[in-house]
Amino acid sequence: MKNWYKLDNAAKLFSNVASRKNSSVFRIAVVMQEEVDGSILQKAVDHIYARFPMFFTRMRSGVFWNYMDELGHSFKVVEESGYPCGMIDAKNNNGYMLKILYYYKRISFEAFHSLTDGSGAVEFVKTLVYYYLCFMGKAISPENKILLAEDGVSLDESEDSYSKYCEGLPGKTEKNKNSYKITGTSFSLHGNNITTGIMSAQALNGLAKAHGTTITPYLAAVLVQSIYQSRIKPGNNKSIVVAIPVNLRNLFPSKTMRNFSCVVNLDYNPAKGMDLADIIGDLTARLKEKTKKQCLQRNISNNVRYEQNIAVKFVPLFVKRVFIRFCFDMLGENKKTITLSNVGNITTPADMSPHIKYFEATLYPTQKRPLSCAVCSVDDKLSINFSRTIVEPDIIRRFFSFFANEAGLDVVLYSNDWGIKNE
């Protein structure tokens, strides 16, 4: 068994730009129907530990690149006490870059983004919850929808798919457009406020279909409109840019559990008119264009070619780090207004459904983008999770009011009240 992993393209980026206020930690959580038993959860983790060797690793420093090394000592689940998606300090976490937390009815999996992306995390959480329920004495048929501990690890699951599918000519990098930045009052204590809205996935899908589109561009359009209505003054010609992570496993036959997604920027200039139907049409067309296989292939090559450059390879990491941070700020962060990550519909075996209330996906906000949005659904319950480091809820209020009042959907809200209850 291979016991160490080179970082993939995305992992290299995240490991070099992460900081306390840009944690690069995301969360996939499950709200169960009953209170979670920590000792049973621990048992489930111990059972699947060997099935996911690429997750239970630690980051070590190398001269040219860091790498992930297997740890092999026990992993402890912890009762949640801090705010979601906070920085994971490996030293205080037994060396690990992930956390498995529980609190009342919620089981949360938090991972440093260098380890994996949303799809990898979802597979892990499904397996975790499956064994948790099994050890709780529930009879559940896996229906081929769960990666089982008994299956054994396949090498494909830890491959670096970026390098594997990187071919073809790199395209031009997009010009740096002047994008609108969300700003606001920071909380007196840095932390993430999570506000979740639950709605019917079918009803939302119906709304999107009525506009001839799918859920992701539809939500992006409502988001653009909400930002415009609550923030932008007339005469401001900055574009609103929604960054959308795209799961590349849908286009390439990869089975990796590590990172394999890339980000597509959808920009909309308010000068084009703020009619929702127009925004939807525009964003749908743009997303379709940018997620064509050829276009995504170019996107990957663009990112990968830098690290494969011989001259770059042999520059010590601390020098590269300076450049990576600079490029991340200038080419990544400065171009975006908000990230909207749709993890999609999570398919679970029928026997699991009665035990699960909601699935939640939560994305970390960053210093320049203090508001982030992540979406996922299980059965008919779709959850939209906003995380923010600013007090102002105006954009979120607009967004959910649109669905509750104008679209006529039933939206049920809840929050962790960070910065609101204690201030």
Partner: protein
């Protein structure tokens, strides 16, 4: 499900504050989606700490020394205050590195090594620069560092991977005294060459004795 009286948003049963308008919602239920309370994290913020007091005193002392130095320039024509300020910075640096939560023992020792050598260099520079720091003290300090880190790397069997990186860094550092000697145009170079030699021998010894493990770890550290 409850409803906010102010903005009419529907909220999960047990949610006590409306997430959209912050109005209170009367409820005695516990929400299924309950998060932990964060009051403890707010209580943990301290406005007065001994560390903050020392930070203030250090800055005050530095400014006072600087002022006195310039004010008394006509009696003593040197910049003695800068040495005091260097000493204050040195103490803070030592405190930070020893208390560091990020670094393991080897890292803390390495940080102290750099601080001590820099501080000695400053003092040497202030005392008409006889070059005793670069010629003798820093090379022997470097050898002591290599010996120390070699020992902890061998003793800490369980986490020897953590220390290996530091050991390598230390071996690279054995070139540093020689480099300093050239920079300061010193004619006495044997202590620096001895240091370099010692570093080289330590590296060769590790390569021979640690065998396979060591080579695998080298491959990881130097992969590109």
């Amino acid at each position: 499900m409850s409803k906010c009286r102010k903005c009419e948003a529907k909220t999960e049963k047990g949610q006590k504050i409306c997430p959209l308008c912050f109005a209170r919602i009367e409820s005695n239920d516990k929400s299924d989606t309950e998060y932990p309370g964060y009051a403890g994290m707010y209580k943990a913020i301290k406005y007065f700490t001994v560390k903050k007091l020392f930070a203030f005193l250090s800055i005050a002392a530095g400014l006072i020394f600087l002022f006195l130095n310039f004010y008394l320039m006509k009696y003593a024509h040197n910049l003695w205050s800068l040495v005091f300020i260097a000493a204050i910075l040195f103490c803070w640096g030592l405190y930070k590195s020893i208390k560091s939560k990020k670094l393991i023992l080897a890292g803390r020792v390495l940080a102290c090594y750099f601080l001590i050598s820099a501080f000695l260099f400053v003092i040497d520079l202030y005392l008409v620069f006889h070059k005793w720091s670069v010629v003798y003290v820093i090379p022997f300090l470097t050898i002591a560092l290599i010996v120390f880190i070699t020992i902890i790397t061998i003793v800490q069997k369980r986490s020897y991977k953590d220390y290996l990186g530091y050991l390598l860094a230390t071996l690279f550092i054995s070139i540093y005294p020689l480099f300093l000697c050239f920079l300061s145009l010193s004619k006495v170079v044997w202590p620096s060459i001895a240091t370099l030699g010692y570093g080289l021998l330590t590296g060769i010894a590790f390569y021979i004795f640690m065998d396979k493990d060591f080579k695998v770890e080298m491959k990881k550290i130097f992969h590109y």
